[in-house]
C-alpha cells in the first residue's frame, strides 16, 4: 500500500470530518443548551443544499448559493423552532424523537413536492476546480481542500463566538443553569431561537458544500444526520470540543479504517478474502467505534458524567 494513498485518504477523512463537524456542532449546541434531540437536523442540511443549488443555478454564482444556503437553513430553523421545537423543550426525549421524526417527513415530502424527485446538481466554480500538489507529492482536489479550510475556519469562529462574545457567555450560562440566566434578565426564548438558527445555518452550509461534490436530492440529510449523531455521542453530547475531535476521528475511521483493516487482515488471510471481509466490516467501523467508546465511557469522550 502506497504512502500517497494513505495521505490522500487521510485528507478525505479530514474533509469528511470537518463536514460532519459542521453538522454536529449545531446538534450538540442545541442539545447542550436546550436539552433537545433533533432528528430533523438532516432536513436543514438538505434545505441548505437545495437552496444553494437553486440559487447558484439561477444566478450562476457559487458564493451567492452558499449565502442562500446559510440564510435559507437559518430561516427554516428559526421558523421550525418558533412553531414546533419550543413546545418540546420540557418534554421527554421520546416526544422529541417523534416530533422531529415527523418534521423529517414533512421536510422531505415538501422538498420533493417543490423540486421533484430528480436530483439537482451544484457545480464547483471554475476557480476551485482542479487539483493542487501538496508537500509530499500528493495531488488533492482544490475544492475538497477548501472544504477543509472553511470547516476549520468555522470551527475557529465558533470557538471565538462561544468563548469571547456576550452571546457565547449566554450560551454557556444557558448550558449550566437555565433558570438563573432567565432570572438575570436574558430573554431565554430569543436566545434559544438564535442558537437553533445558528445550528441550522451550519447544517445548511455543510449541505451546500457537500452538494457540490455529490448530488442534491431528497433524503441526502439522513445518512449524514446519523453519522453526526455518532459524532456527538462519541464526543460527549453538548461539548463542541468533543464534537470536533470526534468528527475528525469518525471521518478518519470512515475513510481510512477500511483500508487499514484490509491491510491488517491480508497478513492473516488471502488478499481477495481480506478485501471481501474488509468491505463488510468497513461500513460498520464507525458504529463499532461508537459502541466501544460508550462501553468504556458511557457519556462520550468529553461528556459530563451522569
Amino acid at each position: 500500500m502506497s504512502m500517497i494513498l494513505i495521505l490522500e485518504q487521510m485528507l478525505n477523512g479530514i474533509q469528511f470530518g470537518v463536514m460532519l463537524f459542521l453538522m454536529a456542532a449545531g446538534l450538540t449546541l442545541v442539545f447542550g443548551v436546550m436539552g433537545l434531540i433533533n432528528l430533523a437536523h438532516g432536513s436543514l442540511y438538505m434545505v441548505g443544499a437545495f437552496a444553494a443549488a437553486a440559487v447558484a443555478n439561477a444566478t450562476g454564482s457559487f458564493l451567492l448559493g452558499l449565502a442562500a444556503s446559510l440564510c435559507a437553513a437559518a430561516a427554516a430553523g428559526a421558523l421550525v423552532e418558533v412553531l414546533v421545537i419550543r413546545r418540546l423543550y420540557d418534554r421527554d426525549h421520546l416526544d422529541q424523537v417523534l416530533a422531529t421524526f415527523a418534521l423529517i417527513l414533512i421536510f422531505s415530502e415538501g422538498t420533493r413536492w417543490l423540486f421533484g424527485s430528480f436530483p439537482l446538481y451544484l457545480n464547483i466554480p471554475d476557480y476551485l476546480k482542479g487539483a493542487v500538489t501538496l508537500p509530499g507529492g500528493v495531488q488533492y482536489p482544490l475544492y475538497r481542500l477548501s472544504i477543509i479550510l472553511v470547516g476549520l475556519a468555522v470551527a475557529a469562529a465558533l470557538y471565538l463566538l462561544i468563548s469571547k462574545t456576550r452571546l457565547g457567555v449566554q450560551i454557556r450560562a444557558g448550558e449550566n443553569d437555565r433558570e438563573m440566566i432567565a432570572a438575570l434578565g436574558v430573554d431565554i426564548s430569543k436566545l434559544y431561537t438564535l442558537v437553533f438558527a445558528l445550528g441550522a445555518a451550519l447544517a445548511g452550509l455543510a449541505g451546500a458544500l457537500v452538494g457540490a461534490v455529490q448530488s442534491v436530492q431528497v433524503g441526502m440529510g439522513e445518512p449524514v444526520l446519523i453519522m453526526a449523531f455518532v459524532v456527538i455521542v462519541i464526543g460527549g453530547i453538548g461539548s463542541i470540543k468533543g464534537a470536533l475531535v470526534a468528527a475528525i476521528l469518525v471521518g478518519l475511521t470512515e475513510k481510512l479504517g477500511g483500508l487499514l483493516l484490509v491491510e491488517m487482515l491480508s497478513t492473516f488471510i488471502e488478499m481477495s478474502e481480506a478485501q471481501s471481509v474488509g468491505a463488510i466490516f468497513s461500513s460498520m467501523l464507525i458504529y463499532i467505534l461508537m459502541a466501544a467508546v460508550l462501553i468504556v465511557k458511557p457519556t462520550g469522550l468529553y461528556g459530563r458524567s451522569l
Binding site: 426525549h93 424523537v97 417523534l98 423529517i104 414533512i106 415530502e109 458504529y287 463499532i288 459502541a291
Partner: protein, 333 residues
Amino acid sequence: MSFINSLSRESWINLSLCIVLCAVPLWAWLSDQPFTLTLCTRVAILALAGVGLNIALGVGGLVSLGHAAFFGLGGYAMGILASHAQSYTPLMEAPFLLEGTKSMPLIWLTAMTVSALAAVFIGALSLRTSGVYFIMITLAFAQMFYYFAISWLAYGGEDGLSIYVRNGFPGLNTLDPLQFMLLTYAVLALALWFYHRLAKSSFGLALNAARQSPARVQAVGITRYNVQLVAIVLSASITGLAGALFADLNRFVSPTMFSWQTSGEIMVFVILGGVGRLFGPVAGAALFILLEHQLGGLSEFWHIYLGLLLLLVVLFARGGIIGTLAGREQANG
C-alpha cells in the same frame, strides 16, 4: 350488568378495536377482496412488532431506536432458511449439517432465538448508558446490521432475497390470504395476551418501577440492569417474530428491514396508538396502514399528512389515540 360496568373505558376501546379488526376481514372475505385481507395481515404483523417494542418502551421506558435490528434479523432468519430450502443447499456442512427449512414454526423459533441472542448482546452493552446515549447506541447497533446486510453479498446484499413460495404451516394453506391472515391474527392475540400477563406480573411491576424510580427499585433489592435486560430480550424476540412474518407476507427480505426508518416506524405505531397501552400498537398500526392506503391514494405526498398528524399527536394528544380516548386512567398496564 356488573361485568359491563366493571369494564374501564380503555377496555371498551380495546373491545371495539377488536370488533373492527375482525369485521373488516370478514366483510372483505364475504365480498371477495383479497387485497383488504392482505392489508389486515400487514396491520397484524406490524402491530406485533409494536407489541414487542411496547414491552421495552411502554413498560420499561427504554427508548430503543434500534428495533429494526430485531425486525430485520427475524426477516433474514426466514430469508436465509427459506432460500436454502428452495435451492436445496445446506446452510452449512461442518461441524454439523444444517439444512434450510420452509416450515413456519421452525423459522419462527429461529427468528425469535436469533433476535433474543442479539438482544442479549445489544442490551447488555446499551444498558450501560441511559437517556439520549441509549437512544443513539441502539440506533448504532441497528445501523451495524443494516450495513452488514448491505455488504453481505452471499444473501443478496443491497438487492435482498426473494422467496418464491410462502412457507408452510402444518394443517394450513398459507397461500390462501384468509388462512395466512388468521394465522397472523392468532399470533398477535397470543402476543397481546403475553403482554397483558407480563405487565400485570411481578416482573412487569418491577420493570415499570425501574422506569419510574431506579433508585428505589435498587433499594428493595431488584437489580435494574437485569430486569431491563430481560425486557429487551423478550421485546426483541417478539419483534423478531414479526420480522419473520413480515418477510413471509412479502416473500422478500432486504436491508430496508434494518434501516433506521423501520425503527422509527415501529416506534410511530406505538406512540400513535399510545405508549404502554395494551392495544396501543394495534391502534397505531391500523391507523398507519389506513392512512398509508387512503392518503396514498389521494396524494403522492402522503408522508406530509402523516408527518403533520404525528406532530399534532405528539404536541396535543399526549398518550396517543388510546390515551386521548381513554383519558389519563392507568397507562402502562
